[in-house]
Amino acid sequence: MSPRAAWRLESLGFGEVYDYVAGKLDWMAAGLPTEGTNAMRPRAGEVARKDVPTCGLKEMLGSVRERVRRQGWDAVVVVNEERVVLGLLRSKELESDSDLLVEQAMRPGPSTFRTFVHIEEMAHFMVEHELESTPITTSDGRLVGLLLQMDAVSRVRPDE
């Protein structure tokens, strides 16, 4: 919370109040819990699939493709040892030459979105832009999961 809100809570008698310096958006981006009316609406981090396959830059595309397809996936997120997102291989990139390294075939530095974005906004943009999947990350770029368009659309309530 903001320093002013923290001081105000202290003035109201709360004894254990902290100022989260990185801010509310960073708190939510880490997937930490929130309260209030908006907290009930599904968010990208909740809907994203956490079991998305990952691979490293120096792996061979052919073996990665075989592994992820065996797991029933058509996409794989390229991460480093800290699980920071470096690239993305969607179905189109997975079709590239088997002898390429992942770093040669991947879509580098893909757009990523934070966990707290409401799912109806993500669904709207993904349908409008015909995007099949997109990585969801924390503020420091670590992978939370892969959000699939079909999952996002299915979680939108009819009145939204």
């Binding site: 958006l25 757009s111 707290f116 974005v117 906004e121 943009f125």
Partner: protein, 54 residues
């Protein structure tokens, strides 16, 4: 800007020249949006006031 110093498209929200859509990253996107407008639309950032004020 691209290698030739010219933008390929304009943000469909604010008309800022951009090279590719910040959401889908496709150069032929029909509804391209710039990074700033996208982050505001998704609630990832707050809209910034005009630099010229008033």
């Amino acid at each position: 800007m691209n290698d030739h110093g010219t933008a390929l498209m304009k943000c469909s929200t604010c008309d800022t020249p951009i090279d590719e859509c910040a959401f889908c990253e496709e150069p032929d996107c029909r509804t391209p949006i710039c990074y700033e407008c996208l982050n505001v639309a998704l609630g990832q950032a707050l809209p910034q006031p005009h630099v010229h004020g008033g």
